[in-house]
Symmetry: C2
Subunit: 392 residues, 2 copies
């Protein structure tokens, strides 16, 4: 399961004591080869955590041997000391893997952190934790690794896709964490994907960018972009199969789509998952811009929480965009009922059934043939409580 | 005092029965001259309510004799019938003013509406209401007019500034309503300002744009832009005084500033008023962009509600902008305590006292000498309740 579903990977998840409550907080994922190709996409926030800066650097050569991830602290906005701590973390992983017979330098180790911004990590706990994790590395450790990266997540998130291609069977699997600060660019905190397909670094990069563009980048739980977002894809090549690029991208996208949907389903305080379909847009960019504007409208998010099909708030959100449309040609459906037609009153809003967790808002721009789907959550008192009651 | 503080204006506010609860819902403001110059600024939302489209048209010649405003319905997204209703409303005002001896056409009457989007106005109540309001027009009617335009406002908002200039005494006064959907472009639902200064339409337009740019346009309560925002400035010239343009703009700005502050202070469900000062920006546009990004960060708004000086959320908001800055040169103060210095941990966050309603967040971009102030509110469970419990 998770990051160890694909052959050629071991993983572990342990409690290092970074979290004060004693929950698991350190994960290690190791690519045992034969190939060690990798690609990554990172937050577009200009304020980047130390581990993001580090991992972008070490990925420059398209190779990674291991990824170490911690919850319990984001190591963001921590200055030069924070970067030194990330470096020391990678050095420690290289050292313990070396002791186990894997010759590896710190420059082949990606680091990812999640938790409170602006606090230094307790290195006196983190470094011994790496030794403990290395001792527990296993081909069945994916599940534990997924659990160790949780912060406010109520469940751990994993996904696996296995394909039978012309050359044989290959797998893409992965794990994700993220329950708040979910907004494009990209839309999650931490994701590690692994595959035993025999794909080189440019092939991984292309597949990962294609997949994240239409999955994690289209999740907008709360409009807040993290400083730590990291998605890594590691290939061991141990299946010996090199899939067709389209088939490989499709599989990576399937896993990303599944994980992204799980993130929305577990978003902080949410009671509804909102699927925003923008159809008949002049361009895909228009569709995405309109979808995001709808996704970020707090008044609409409140209305959906209250199971109120308040389509006026959809129109007022569309109206703030630069997309091509005529106001008197807009149509809006909520759960399939076209409550707004031609920019005005449509079908009876009492026909809309909003009892279930998933709510679909369809915005028809009547301006072309392009479309996009953005996922969002409602805005609830629980979200306010969860994010005002403690520093996270 | 409100819109009748300046000489040359009468006003009324009555209950026409548009609101089902019987509260006042119709206001009428009449310029009795001698001058009838006017200027207006309107929502930049591309989905505009019928009264906004109408009022923009009738203002094209820079003259207005009267403004009729209703609460209890926004007349937005109501199609051709909605526009006909606005037209009929203006015709009715012209008719009743004509019966009182004022020769005026519908093209000199601005209309403004506020309330639920997507519902036609009850014209069988609104039109008789206009007759009733006309019968009650008075030089002391400003207060009642301000009360009649309230929706979810808990208090009515008025402001008056009187100046003694070289040519004599003149006054700018006004009223405002708005408690939700407050976001730039512009940041309120309805505002009517009046003055007895002798200023022509281009002078009014210039003063109004200068004033709203740094007041209503810098209020961002909930990031949601209305379809109905309207700010009108009417000059009767009855003081006989033509102030210096700078003095006049200053007075209009004072009144707008006061009203904008009142809007933030009465925003739906809010428990904190957040003054966001962006300093040392390379340009004023940078300062405004950063201020708005901070103002719209739901996680920060929750933290401030919880009296948690979570400066990491300020940095993550700054990081999403295109403004000029270096991440490791950013400084952030909350209520005067520099909790973030050089992009990292600064003074002890426990020193921050957030008990009072007004909270100041200062973001120092260390990139220049420009600055801007944006006003916002916190995000509360009460906001969620108020906006999920009913259609508004």
């Amino acid at each position: 399961m998770s990051v160890t579903a694909a052959k050629g990977f071991t993983a572990a998840g342990i409690a290092a004591g970074i979290k004060q409550n004693g929950n698991p907080d350190l994960a290690l994922v190791v690519n045992t080869g034969p190939r060690r190709a990798a690609a990554g996409v990172f937050t577009s926030n200009r304020v980047k955590a130390a581990p993001v800066v580090w991992s972008q650097q070490v990925l420059a050569d398209g190779e990674l041997t291991a990824v170490v991830l911690n919850s319990g602290g984001a190591n963001a906005c921590t200055g030069p000391q924070g970067f030194q701590d990330t470096h020391a973390t990678a050095e420690k992983v290289a050292e313990v893997l070396g002791a186990k017979g894997t010759d590896v330098g710190a420059g082949e180790i990606a680091v990812a952190s999640t938790g409170l911004i602006g606090v230094l990590l307790p290195m006196d706990k983190l470094l011994p934790g790496i030794e403990k994790a290395a001792a527990e590395l296993s081909e069945h450790g994916g599940e534990k690794a997924a659990i160790a990266i949780k912060t406010t997540d109520t469940v751990h998130k994993t996904s696996v896709v296995t394909k039978d291609g012309p050359g044989g069977t290959w797998t893409v699997g992965g794990m994700a964490k993220g329950a708040g600060m979910l907004a494009p660019g990209l839309a999650t905190m931490l994701v590690v994907l692994t595959t035993d397909a025999d794909v080189d670094s440019p092939g991984l990069d292309s597949a990962l960018r294609d997949a994240t563009r239409v999955t994690f980048d289209r999740v907008d739980s709360d409009g807040c972009m993290s400083t730590n977002d990291t998605v890594l894809l590691l290939a061991s090549g141990s299946s010996g199969v090199t899939p067709e690029p389209d088939a490989f991208t499709g599989a990576v996208r399937e896993v990303c789509d599944d994980l992204a949907r799980q993130l929305i389903g577990d978003a902080e305080g949410a009671s509804k998952d909102i699927r925003i379909e923008v159809i008949n847009a002049a361009t895909e960019d228009d569709a995405v811009e309109v979808g995001r504007s709808i996704a970020r409208n707090n008044l609409l998010k409140c209305a959906i929480h209250g199971e109120d099909p308040n389509w006026g708030r959809v129109l007022s959100a569309i109206g703030t965009t630069a997309a091509a449309f005529e106001p008197d040609e807009l149509n809006v459906a909520i759960n399939g009922v076209w409550v707004c037609k031609n920019g005005s009153v449509g079908e009876d809003r009492d026909l809309v059934d909003m009892r279930y967790r998933e709510v679909t808002v369809t915005a028809d721009l009547a301006a072309g043939t392009e479309s996009a789907v953005i996922w969002a959550n409602d805005l609830t008192a629980d979200y306010v409580h969860e994010n005002s009651a403690y520093s996270s």
